[in-house]
């Protein structure tokens, strides 16, 4: 799931919910691996493959340690106190592993921009992002989609993916110190910082035109008041992915707002 492509494959079984379930079970204290399986499945039968894949995914994320058959949690409780905390924790890991299968697929999907609109099922999306460098199949996409939507890259709509990085960007604004609240940042500076924090989005930008997912994410955050998108005269103008009827299609500056607007 979260390790190096191509050896490590994306699979649908280890959903964010299941990862959270295992973390909370492990929070009760170290436990023998067979006992952990019994606890998670509440059954004396041999654990299913889904359990084993889940176990591997949690280990890939570095959340557990196994020694002498005893499994120990390696994550502070605050890091998974709720799903939002888990989301930020996982984002901090997976988006800093550019070589991982998950990162690569995220980057490729976001770089599709409007091309993604044509993908009306998961197999189609897998075909769109597969090239000489990367090959993904439908099952990989099925696994990716749970985490992509959980980590804030967009929304699922039946068998399509709606790219929108609002949640992802809000998370990095939430945690990053590099965005002084209330300060007007020139577009280039804002984007530079954003791409440092959300490197998976970089490939979706074409020069000074931001990708579909980032653009609609920024529009959404502007609508929520989390940030303000400004157009000033005589300044370098950047473009958002064009939407005919939207009032924001370009910007010169961005102001990140503070506590009252959904940011801690």
């Amino acid at each position: 799931m979260f390790e190096r492509y191509p050896d490590n494959k994306l699979k649908p079984e280890p959903t964010p919910e299941r990862v959270m379930a295992m973390l909370r079970t492990l929070a009760g204290g170290p436990v023998a691996r067979p006992q952990l399986a019994k606890m998670m499945t509440l059954s004396a039968e041999s654990p299913s493959s889904a359990y084993n894949i889940l176990f591997d995914a949690v280990r890939e994320l570095g959340f557990l340690h196994e020694m002498d058959g005893v499994v120990t949690l390696c994550l502070e409780p605050a890091k998974f106190a709720d799903y939002a905390s888990l989301r930020r924790t996982v984002s901090g890991i997976v988006f800093n592993r550019p070589e991982s299968s998950f990162y690569q697929m995220s980057q490729e999907v976001l770089a599709l921009n409007e091309e993604i609109l044509a993908a009306d099922n998961w197999e189609h999306l897998a075909n769109l992002i597969s090239n000489e460098k990367f090959t993904f199949n439908e099952e990989n996409v099925l696994g990716w989609r749970w985490w992509a939507s959980f980590l804030g890259l967009g929304y699922l709509h039946a068998t399509t993916f709606i790219p929108n990085l609002a949640v992802r960007i809000r998370d990095v604004l939430h945690t990053a110190d590099s965005y002084p609240r209330g300060t007007e940042l020139p577009a280039a500076v804002f984007v530079d910082k954003l791409e440092a924090l959300c490197p998976e989005s970089r490939a979706s930008r074409h020069e000074r035109i931001l990708g579909l997912g980032v653009s609609n994410g920024l529009r959404l955050l502007a609508q929520q008041g989390v940030l303000e998108i400004k157009n000033e005269l005589d300044a370098e103008r950047w473009s958002l992915h064009y939407i005919e009827v939207h009032r924001i299609n370009s910007f010169t500056h961005v102001v990140v707002r503070g506590d009252d607007h959904g940011l801690a």
Binding site: P12, E13, T15, P16, E17, R18, M20, A21, L23, R24, T25, L26, A27, G28, K38, M39, M40, T41, L42, S43, A44, S48, A50, Y51, D82, Y83, R87, E114, L117, A118, A119, N121, W146, S149, F150, G154, Y155, L156, H157, A158, T159, T160, I162, N164, A166, L212, N216, R219, L220, Q224, H241, Y242, I243, E244, V245, H246, R247, I248, N249, S250
Partner: protein, 1025 residues
Amino acid sequence: MDWHRALRRLESDVIKIDVMASDEAEFLATHVPFSNLAVHKGGRTDAPLESWGEEQVYRGLVENEDNQHRLVMVLGSNGAGKSHLIRWLRARFVSSGAAERQGDRVLFVRRLGNTFRGAISQLLDEGVIKNTDLEARLRAFVESADSQDEGLFMSTIHSNFIDQVRNDQEKDTYTAPQRRDIAALLSDSRVREQLMCEQGPITRFYAQIARAAGKVVTGEAGFTPEDFLFERSLIREVQTNGSKEAARYIANLRDEEEREQLTQYLNTFVSAVLNRCANIVQGDTREVFAELRRELKKEGKNLTIFIEDFTSFRNVDSELITVLATEHGGTNADLCRVTAIVGITDGYFAQFRDNFLDRVTHIITVNEAAYGEGAFLKEFASRYLNAIYSSQDLFKVWHRRGADPNHLPVGDFTPPIPWQGVLVAGKHMTLYPFTEKSLLSLYGLLSRKTPREMLRILRDQMSAFINDQMDGVPIRFPATVSGVTLNWRIPEHGTHLDRAGLDNKTRERARTLFCLWGTGDMYETAGSGATHIGGLPASFLRLLDITVGGISQSGGIVTTKTSTNNTSPEPKPATQVISPEQRAHERRKKALEKWYQQSQHLEGSQDFRLMIRHFLASAINWQAEGVPAYIFRKRMDSIIFIQGQQQEGSPERAMVVIERAPQYLDILRGLLEYDFRKGWGKWESSSASYYQLVLAEWIEGMKSMLVKSMLTSKGQEWPMARWAMGVELYRLALFGKLDGKESHLQVLELLLSDENDKPSGLERTSGRWVELAQLLLRKHTDLADNKELLQDIKRTYMGVPGAGGGGNVRLFHTGELLRVFAELESKNWSLEDALSQTASSAISASKTMTVSYELAKDIATRIDEVISDEHAQAKKVLADLRRVLGDRLDKETFDRAGLIMADFLSMLHANQVAYKGVKQADAARLSEECDRFAQLCSVVETMLNETSRRKILAFYSTDPCNLLREVFDIIQRVAKLATEQHELAQSRLAALQPQGDALIDAKTVQERISYLEERIESMGRGRQT
């Protein structure tokens, strides 16, 4: 511009919905030539069709220098323009001098009030009725119609029908007694009142024949079966209080066939009744025109008659048509030639055309082909606008000078901004404030597409426009076109307008303008120095006080007035072949816009609710928001409410409320398009991205509220897992599935297992335990639901809830389950405690939400009673045993008691004393299982001090006290047997006193029994001390 004059012109002079009422100068000034009139030669509409212009009709059929007999029927629906055409033909015939040249007497019977009275009145005024007696009678009729009270006239009509029925001799339809009954029924005051009510047939006859001029009558008179479909109460009333004849007949009218027959029967009298009311007798009409034709013949003249609406002569139609159809010459050499141009509706013509087929020389049909073209509509509107904007004198002078179409005057009105116009007779006439598009749009919206209806709509719009010019605020133009749903070419442009901050009325006006006048979008373009929005000059919008920015095709919302795009997009051509899916989609789109714009119910709202449900199911990662897939599946259906939905529901109970507001309109539009296109790919990219953004904004705006709502009930904590687990634990305990020694994890496994074995431990026949267990057995369905809830509510689910798939993998939130378990354990599984944490006001009506809650309530109030009952039974059996065995219920006690009893029974057996009710093996069992009985007594003793409900119930679930009761029972039975034998021995001893050996034997037995009794008693005494 003198707007007061314009208003006067509009209201009083120019636009008359009944075109025949307008002045001839205005009429000619506003007349647009018909170009595509369908002409058939002969009386058959299936004859070869030719397309003629009106001038061709005039020259070919009205001008008649060859003295050809002509009976020309002009057909068309109401408002199609028959009258207009006939009036124009007549005006052309007179004003061109042709009538005079040909020596024709021109008779024009206009549609004044559309009544026979009106027609007769005109004939009298024209002086064509030569017979003095007939003239006197007809004058009397016209005057009486003028002077008579409406009610009196209607009574006359009513009485005439009754007379016709009474005097009828025809026997085929009804027998004489039946006719008497019918006459009696018609005479009944209640029925009479019904027939003469506002919508009744007598009122219709009155309207047809005599209603005063000025009141236009439409439709044709005649009885209908519905006229005799009486209310049940009326029938009862007639049957109770009416004459016996009426009462007898009215029952028949419940039968549809009878109503139909009566209708047909009475309609045979219509002409006769109306003629009698009009004082005319058979032959009068024929005579009027025959006499006229004879007289004209004598004068060397001919007759050209224009009848605008033949319906006026309905009661004399056959006579009139006969006399007009009679060709001059031959045996009718005394008659002059006649050219008759007769207007008649399609429906009326169809009724009796068989009578005319061989008499009619031409049929002209005025239909949409004659006026539905854009060019016609433009000229039509521009001529009326020119007349409104100009003074009446201008046209009067023109009319006096011969009304030459080529010299039609054009007023001096100049629109405040350059505007579209049309060339009429080589002169530019403005369309201001209409556009060509608006004329086509407004015409397209008409339910009946006729010039008359178009005129009505032009009048309404112009009335608003002119009034605005005079008093300005608030501006009303364009007027709302009621009952019409406006469609944007680009729907999201509608949202742009909705969000422009205009007040409701201005927004409605703007929407009407952009959708009907403009191009159906809000693209802002600049060309020839003028900015346009949606195809309309921005300056025009400003004049109408509509201040709104447009949308640039290259740069989004325009906030400044500079734009580089100078072409307005043309509407895409309509798809030629429409699939059923496309048709269904268009229907739903229309329903959606109608819902929004006209505040109507949302047709097909269940489909929209499903779209919302499907979207929410996948767009929110419910499981990763802490909402179990199970909860979403169970709750989502009932929590979506669309304002104006067709299904029952209330916004108060819903979590997702779709209001009739712009942002929700866009959400539904987006989901509808997605549903139709099965994805985002087949949209225009910008639109798809826009709706994706709209949906994402919606989701993020309500997600946290929705998640919270899912997990609570009416805003309060709703710990279903706790209740469900408590209920299931008690079910397991009461059904004997727990032994009280399991670890927490083992209990958890049992709680979430699929175990559904038969209950055990229910052999007991009475007690609270059985009562509660039986209650639960009766609620097995609810318990199954509770089990499902418990199994699923903390089970992870890989998939979109409710979308299928996802499998049934057992991977649980065990950490959370153990936490719930620990909470219940710490509260000693007190359901009352679990229930007390939720206010009753939070109780939901949803079965899913309440099943565990209700079961928990059932159990909570009973479980401690069960435990008390079990404890009481345990205490009693221990007390019983102590009473017979002493205080110490240990192994030795049971062993010794067993031995003694066995000894006693052996002795009886050895002495061949018969007994029953107890076996030696029972007594021996006390010794053999003394250890078990002693331990059981000890555990029961301990359990009486146990506080854990879980453990107490697990212990009692095997009914352990039953075993002790059996032990006590054995002792009781042996003791009873000993007593019986003792008494028997004593009585036999007494009887055997004189007999030596026997006495000794009996004494021996008695002593032995006494000894044993003492032993048993001493055992008891020994324990007590």
